[in-house]
Amino acid sequence: MAEHYNRDSEPTTRTLLRRVLDTADTRTPRRRRSARIGAQKALLETPSSRRLSTPTKMNVRRGSHRARSIGRLAHVHTSGNLEEQTPRTLLKNIILTAPESSIMTPKSVVKPVPTPQVVRSSRQESSRGSLELQLPELEPPTTLALGLLAPGRKKQRLRLSVFQHEMDQELPLSQEPRGNASASSLTSSLSLTFATPLQPQSVQRPGLARRPPTRRAVDVGAFLQDLRETSLALASPGDSLRTPVATLPTDTVLEDTQPFSQPLVGHSPNPGKPAQLLAGKAKKIDVLAVSLPNNSSAISGEDRVEPLQNGVGEEAEERMEESLSVSEVMGSTGTQGSVRTEKSKGHGEMTEALEAKEPEGSSEDEDISGRTASPELASSTTEFLQARQPQFLEPAPPPTTTVLSSEPLEPLPTRHPPRARTHGSRPRQDPHKTGLSHYVKLFSFYAKMPMEKKALEMVEKCLDKYFQHLCDDLEVFSAHAGRKTVRPEDLELLMRRQGLVNDQVSLHVLVERHLPLEYRQLLIPCAFSGNSVFPAQ
């Protein structure tokens, strides 16, 4: 035991483990059989000790312990309990099999050595909290760490943004700032525990990686000005949501159905908004992704309908300017690129099926928008710019919808009317073929081969005829039964004719197999409480 202290100037986790094993020598597996409680305690010991052992990977000194471990192994083998997985054997295995090399370079060994203690102490403390029993075996190691418990507890609360920042900057290699001891310790420990490369997300999935927003000193004056300008820009996306920009004069006509369609009142509530935004920003400058979307969406929620009556040309110029300024505020071309990718994604999504893809797109947009300082503003302005260009007429509405709808969850109920209206604009293009394009895409996907356009067109024609046949059949079936409305019985008859439903397989079986629970509840009568059956037969 004395050797331990001589070898290692600072007690590392490995040494502590060693100590545990040494001190717990008296409790051999043989004796455990006699004492049941002891066995339980030993078993409980393993989760906490495992937690202890994980940060040991950083330890470089193995030679000293290897001889001991071999000796220990022999001891264990002689004890003869190979079947019974004892904590001792587990610990041994962990120490033996844990990779020797750590992801940290050897030079950093000295510095992080004290830091994991902090982590360990906090973890031990947490582990002790989790285990209700006071385990005597853990007493000796924890007494050492008790002194460090207090600072460990305080430093355990680490700001996520700081952590991310340091993770990205590969902090474990450079742990100079002792002030960030806690942060670095946590980062180092976490990186050690995961034993993963330092930037897992950014390497594999650049689109989903959460890079911290680049922070600049916010110039309040310029910011307010930008807000005032962009609040106008936010007004316009409310219109572009519904109709493409080309049909400007009809905007007002369509917006008459809107609850807040007051063309002249538009600008009056605007001065109120920048104050809102400023307050929001002042609160959480470090976590920009949360504050701005909330406020900007609140704005757009209120100014949902802002007609483009106020000199579209002027506003276009304004927006051109403030889009540039906004882009400056955001401060990186990366964000622009992200917005563009988001737009391109939105475009790609437009060509595909609508509702099925929108949640995905919105989630992606959310990640990207979470990055930027004022994602809403940027997207709205840039998409307005896009809308100016005739080619991007169509993608203009959907990216805003996806972005707007994705960001906050609370204003979501207010979003539904604008969302519904975008779908209203779709049937103008091609009412018959829009639905089929989704199936054609599915077909091409399942074909697993590249397909010619003509082939896809033929597929579309066949699908069209097939669905027409289906609907004709349904109509005839309902007429056959002397009805004017198609009912589920007609559908069941149709499925019987198709061979999906037969004497072996009934409709209810198919419903159970393929439909989600909500639809199943609607279709299959089920008895609920109070002797009520739903759906009523």
């Binding site: 056959h480 039964a481 019985e489 008859l493 019987r496 004719r497």
Partner: protein, 129 residues
């Protein structure tokens, strides 16, 4: 059970024979002989299709909440091919016409019988008196 299988076999044989006769007729018309496999395939096909038809007809009748299969059910079955549907409807109309004619004839006959009997009775009465 065995008897049922035997009946089935007999039924299939009957269908096969009828299909063979029809094919011979068509062959003599078009001057193109039919191979035996073709005739066998056609007869098997007709037999299975008849089974399907029967099941569908029963389904249609049940769908219309009836217990007897109607001409409406048959028309529903044949709606896919237009010519067949036309043919069936025409036949149906003919049959209905025939039925109505039969009914009128029967009625007339009855009436005639009645009048005749009355007349006979009257004559008999007269004779008697």
């Amino acid at each position: 059970m065995k008897y049922f299988a035997f009946l089935l076999q007999r039924l299939k044989a009957a269908v096969h024979y009828t299909v063979g006769c029809l094919c011979e007729e068509v062959a003599s018309d078009r001057e193109m002989p039919f191979s035996k496999q073709t005739i066998a395939a056609i007869s098997e096909l007709t037999f299975r299709q008849c089974e399907t038809f029967a099941k569908d007809l029963e389904m249609f009748a049940r769908h219309a909440k009836r217990s007897t299969i109607n001409t409406e059910d048959v028309k529903l079955l044949a709606r896919r091919s237009n010519s067949l549907l036309k043919y069936i409807t025409e036949k149906n109309e003919e049959l209905t016409q025939f039925n109505t004619e039969q009914k009128t004839k029967k009625k007339k006959k009855l009436e005639d019988d009645n009048t005749k009997s009355v007349a006979v009775a009257a004559a008999a009465g007269k004779d008697d008196s």
